[in-house]
Assembly symmetry: C2
Homo-oligomer: 253 residues x 2
């Protein structure tokens, strides 16, 4: 397929419901064949973290969780289930802000987000919680290597999640795991179309791709994967850590 | 053209260099015809603010700017040109944070961003600065109505700019002007694919579309416009103000 260099395509891929131990790389390749989507060199495969967490077993039954004394106390403050708070604290390395019902933490990975990205659901008939994968880069790598093994095609992989932001309303998807691409593009020192040097401009291309992928995933359609074609990015080793602003450079933590 | 509902396409559109008074709506329609891009009902036309600011005259020669006493003092602190600081202050209603060379302000529009979004350039042989349009929603409306007048097609329009974020490295594009769409999608009360109610989930679709559009615009290609096809969004009156978190709800201001 020929892609105009000035065109990006984002194609949603439906998967069956994911269970513990499922081979997501295989399921993506299988679904792409069934849906007539051709995987090509340079494509970015975006996978919502929820299905990765399910396949890897980061799913908890709340009735199995014993809250600590601190979790009990904080749960009163927040008006949340103390077992939910216990999981939020277990996933946190720092509480960044608490006010009203909101708790913003820095997760064990270094993400700053609400509730340590611990999602509650009552899927499967009990009160369950899902946390982020422990090592989202390696989750991404596993999927990417499996796709390469099955198709001989070299793709990049992003694991995405939906985060809130400071100052702006509404959530957007960001990259919480990255494989086979540099998540930032550094334009510093380059010239603009009129020959002038660009100001310091480092673009978070992996976050932009995650946000673009959310446009086909939606929240209600059961589309946990998107194939993104035509994006210019730098190949090579990358990690979600490249996207984390170090504490000492951060004016808002 | 038939679009699979699970596919989004983002097509970059080149324009000639924009000058004061240029009719951007006309130039977009003209460029689409020349480039074989068909504008269709429901398309979102994303326009980088820089060309809007140029067409509307929000371009300043630094030698025409007299810094205030406060701007002079702050410029020493920040290590910036005092005339640049004067423009930053004129565009601000509040200084949110100052540290080292960084100044984060809340602009007259309510955006929280670095340098009040005042960009410096040395285009056209002098030290020039560009500020955001004064009323970016009405800039978007003007372009959208002109496109409708010329093509009889009803599109939505987003004016975009590149902003930094708290906590995460790298910049992403966001919507700073909106017309003919709701910039947020509210999924609250809807069910997920398994029949369970979604948690509070309000997605900033206009920001995700702006980020997606940046993927074809890049920084060095001279592509200031993208046509985004296949996005599901709510039609109707919308404004960039819908994307601003009110001060009292904001934990980080």
């Amino acid at each position: 397929m020929h892609l105009d260099p000035r065109e990006v395509r984002i194609i949603g891929v439906k998967l069956p419901e994911i269970k513990l131990g499922d081979d997501i790389g295989y399921l993506i390749v299988d679904a792409c064949i069934k849906q007539g989507v051709k995987l090509e060199e340079g494509d970015i495969v975006v996978v919502t973290h929820k299905i990765v967490s399910k396949a890897e077993g980061y799913v908890y039954r709340l009735s199995d969780i014993s809250p600590s004394i601190f979790a009990e106390r904080v749960s009163l403050e927040l008006g949340k289930d103390p077992r939910h708070v216990e999981l939020i604290l277990r996933q946190a390395r720092r509480i960044v802000k608490m006010r009203g019902p909101h708790i913003i933490t820095e997760t064990i990975h270094g993400f700053v987000c609400a509730n340590s990205a611990v999602d509650l659901s009552n899927v499967s008939g009990g009160d369950m919680a899902v946390t982020l994968p422990e090592d989202p880069d390696s989750s991404a790598m596993k999927i990417g290597l499996r796709i390469r093994e099955l198709t001989d095609v070299d793709v990049a992989v992003i694991i995405s999640d939906t985060f809130g932001r400071a100052w702006r309303k509404g959530l957007t998807d960001v990259a919480i795991g990255v494989w086979n691409m540099k998540p930032l593009i550094d334009y510093r020192g380059l010239k603009d179309p009129y020959g002038y040097e660009l100001r310091a401009t480092v673009v978070a291309v992996a976050d932009e791709v995650a946000s673009a992928a959310e446009l086909v995933m939606g929240k209600t359609e059961g589309i946990p994967v998107a194939i993104v074609k035509g994006v210019r990015y730098e190949k090579g080793e990358g990690t979600y850590r490249d996207l984390l602003r170090p504490l000492e450079e951060d004016l808002f933590r």
